[in-house]
């Protein structure tokens, strides 16, 4: 197991280097000029030229890349062109908000999605199962943007039960977590239902029932445990993507996470901020994937990495 972890961690180096190189080249060839975005209107050519020189944008590409890599190797993701603040500090400041939102969304998705999926597999074809299937279709079909605004309209404007947006406390998490987690609920419920249906038809389930075990125990302990692998996969992938920022949800709910930071950086052509963010978020994504893989071995003893 430890060899596997070491191997995966070693793979991080070429992965992140590749991410850096591709991002750097993409941003280099993308249209737009960071200096133009910095100065706003009424800029004179001398100022533009001076800022380009200050930011080393006139240096050859390989020199710019070398300079950037040099900084990264020393743990310095650089300084934002726009805010003039260290990018790592900006990201670390916003990451806890993203982590809170991603965690809450996953919790919501896991509890609701798995419960609905198990129920659907246990009583397939029942009205509740059909309703859940229909809701799952709605969940994946409705855009996040629309769902978020409708939830705000109902629960914040009309009923006034919840705040429309912001991040001042736990109560502010409810609407964005539901909005963000809704897609995962849909996927998870279908995934759980399918996996469980297969498992529930297995011989060992029949045996468990024949032994006279309580039905709840049959379904949850024997059935669900064996259907857990695909569920963990979906959970891990979704959690990884939530942690890398949910631009739409964060925008609608004024949530101060990394998604909005990246969006602003792209909009302002804040090259080091975009590069730094992508590097940071790639690291997060890869680490979550690694943890998910390790979790496989935990939930299914048949999975071994050595």
């Amino acid at each position: 197991m430890s060899r596997f972890i070491l191997y995966r961690l070693a793979l991080l180096v070429p992965t992140l280097f590749g991410v850096l190189l591709v991002t750097f080249l993409l941003l280099y060839v993308a249209p737009g000029d960071p200096v133009q975005a910095m100065v706003g209107e009424r800029a004179d050519p001398e100022t533009l030229a001076r800022l380009r020189a200050e930011l080393r944008l006139d240096d050859p590409l390989y020199q710019q890349f070398g300079h950037y890599i040099g900084g990264v190797l020393q743990g310095d993701l650089g300084t934002s062109y726009i805010t003039r603040r260290p990018i790592l500090r900006d990201l670390l400041e916003r990451f806890p908000a993203t982590l809170r939102l991603a965690g809450a969304a996953m919790l919501f998705a896991a509890v609701v999605g798995i419960a609905v999926g198990i129920f659907g597999a246990w009583r397939p074809g029942s009205w509740a199962d059909r309703l859940a299937t229909f809701a799952a279709y709605l969940g994946v079909s409705f855009p996040v943007y629309w769902v978020g605004l409708i939830l705000i309209l109902i629960f914040a404007v009309h009923l006034r039960w919840l705040p429309p947006s912001g991040s001042s406390g736990l109560i502010y998490l409810i609407l964005p977590a539901i909005t963000l987690g809704m897609r995962s609920v849909a996927f998870l419920s279908r995934m759980t239902r399918a996996a469980m249906q297969e498992v529930l038809q297995s011989d060992f389930i029949r045996t468990a029932r024949a032994k006279g075990l309580h039905e709840g125990r049959v379904v949850l302990s024997h059935g669900f445990r064996n259907a857990l692998l695909p569920v963990v996969t979906v959970l891990g992938l979704d959690f990884g993507s939530y942690l890398t920022g949910s631009i739409l949800t964060e925008t609608i709910f004024s949530w101060p996470g990394v998604g909005r930071y990246v969006l602003t950086a792209i909009d302002k052509r804040d090259l080091p901020a975009v590069q730094g963010s992508i590097l940071f978020l790639s690291l997060v994504f890869v680490m979550v994937n690694l943890l998910t893989d390790l979790l496989y071995a935990r939930v299914d003893p048949r999975v071994a990495y050595d």
Binding site: G32, M38, A156, V157, S254
Partner: protein, 510 residues
């Protein structure tokens, strides 16, 4: 579970406090770049800087120029030497009195290479400032401290708009030396003191009890960062914002449901399509006029913008010296447009590219313009880019047409005529039409330098008439701002310029 409920109850009670009588709740659509005036290149930074700091001069909500830290000023007969006399009772938030040396240091700091955000141009008219900013001079000869409360600024050439330039955020007065972490939590001298800034979330300001102009009526100004317009509207409807700009798509509904809360004000702003006068068929004046006749501006204003605008027949909006309300717009006349195109040698029209940024409200507008142009034979392809890319291409002269707008930084015809139409400013300076007209250039420079207000008004009217005649734009409209303020909020008006609302009189009466 019990802990969760307690935490929830605590949060709910905290929400109540935020909306208490003494707190005003405002918002920005994005996080300020910094709280340092030297980096104020964007609107949120400029707005918050105007709460935290003072300038020598400042604007009120009606965009009238008022004394700021300078209690008075005068200029010599040639219009080049300005003498400012400072207030004796003004001090920074840490209690230190503000002296003329602080003003000088602040202006030098804003100009200094390396520390600027690239927007120190309002100070360039000062003698020697441009060379100092470029790093080729160690001093600025035009800034002289006569005594603790007198500062003399000498300009390179006469410029009647100069006192208004000093009201721009970049010219705010900061303590010397600036304390550490100044850009994140500055010490200013304005009506509001800095309390906290949670990035992308909220900025908290407290009233400055010892402000020389009297303390603001409310205790706290909380500025949330809310990017989505419909969320802003929802926050207002839930009672969490004191004021809100009504989203365009919500205009008709709010006129019914919130009629008593709405304020309307023609903005100092142009919405237009810049026509690159140096490209292909667009060099021909007849073609540019044809474009103006081809677009049904009145219908567009009604359908796309809910009539939130005044039709434009020139670039100077109502409220700006030189605006001529009697001049008629080109008017929708496709037959005339076709005739002009035929006269110019394009009876079958031509192909062209219409650039726009990704701003949602511009999407429908661009499509409608495209459709109108197609009706007279002009095949316009819409090129959609992010703001930075579009601006870079337009400034490099690569765009035929560019749908955009212009917001006045200060209320003066110079803020339109010089950047938008003088040949010195083609491209990055703001003249996206790349217009170059000797007669126009001459009038614009004379209007900038004259010390005679009557002459300035006369010239501004002539300039606007000439611009209209040359048709460097498809003239669309001057937008009208519509905001709502909560029934219990008094003393707040829509500011005409972005630094004009300092929340001094605003309060909640219930």
């Amino acid at each position: 579970m019990r802990q969760f409920l307690i935490a929830t109850a605590f949060v709910i009670s905290a929400c109540g406090e935020q909306g208490s009588d003494q707190t005003l709740n405002y918002y920005f659509t994005y996080d300020p770049r910094s709280l340092d005036p030297a980096l104020s290149t964007d609107v949120p930074t400029g707005e918050v800087v105007s709460q935290l700091f003072d300038n020598l001069t400042q604007f009120d909500a009606d965009a009238q120029l008022k004394p700021g830290l300078a209690r008075s000023w005068d200029t010599d007969a040639g219009g080049r030497v300005y003498t400012f006399r400072l207030r004796q009772n003004a001090s920074f938030h840490d209690g230190r009195p503000i002296k003329a040396t602080d003003v000088r240091a602040s202006l030098l700091r804003a100009l200094a290479p390396g520390s600027t955000g690239g927007r120190s141009w309002p100070l360039y008219p000062i003698q020697g400032a441009r060379a100092y900013a470029a790093g080729s001079a160690k001093e600025v000869a035009g800034i002289v401290v006569r005594d603790d409360s007198t500062l003399v600024l000498t300009l390179e050439e006469p410029l009647n708009v100069f006192p208004k330039l000093l009201a721009m955020p970049v010219a705010a007065i900061v303590p010397t030396p600036t304390p550490p972490n100044f850009d994140q939590g500055p010490t200013g001298s304005g009506p509001w003191k800095f309390v906290s800034w949670s990035h992308d979330d909220a900025i908290l300001l407290a009233k400055n009890q010892s402000y020389w102009g009297g303390a603001p009526k409310s205790d706290t100004l909380r500025i949330r960062i809310i990017p989505e317009p419909l969320t802003q509207a929802a926050e207002y409807e839930a009672g969490q914002l004191s004021v809100v700009e009504v989203p365009v798509g919500e205009t008709r509904r709010w006129e019914q449901t919130h009629a008593d809360e709405l304020q309307r004000r023609p903005a100092l702003r142009d919405l237009y399509v810049a026509i690159n006068t140096t490209r292909g068929p667009l060099k021909d004046l007849r073609v540019r006029r044809a474009l103006n006749h081809a677009v049904d501006v009145r219908t567009l204003l009604g359908t796309v913008m809910a009539d939130r605008g005044v039709l434009a027949a020139g670039s100077l909006p109502p409220g700006i010296v030189g605006y001529d309300s009697t001049r008629a717009p080109y008017g929708y006349d496709p037959a005339k447009a076709k005739q002009l195109l035929a006269e110019a040698g394009y009876p079958n029209g031509f192909s062209i590219k219409l650039w726009r940024t990704q701003r949602a409200e511009l999407a429908r507008l661009a499509q409608s313009i495209q459709q109108n142009l197609a009706e007279v034979g002009i095949r316009a392809e819409i090129v959609e880019r992010d703001a930075s890319s579009a601006r870079a291409a337009v400034r490099n002269g690569e765009a035929d047409l560019f749908l955009t707008d212009w917001w006045a930084d200060y209320p003066d015809p110079e803020n339109f005529n010089f950047p938008l139409f003088h040949s010195r400013n083609t491209g990055s300076g703001g003249n996206y039409a790349f217009l170059s007209d000797a007669a126009l250039d001459s009038m614009i420079l004379r209007a900038r330098t004259t010390t005679d207000e009557t002459e300035k008004t006369r010239l501004s009217r002539l300039i606007d008439a000439r611009v209209f005649e040359l048709a460097p734009w498809i003239f669309l409209w001057f937008p009208v701002d519509i905001w709502a303020s909560q029934p219990d909020v008094t003393g707040w008006r829509i500011p005409l310029v972005f630094t004009g609302q300092r929340w001094m009189e605003a309060e909640r009466t219930r």
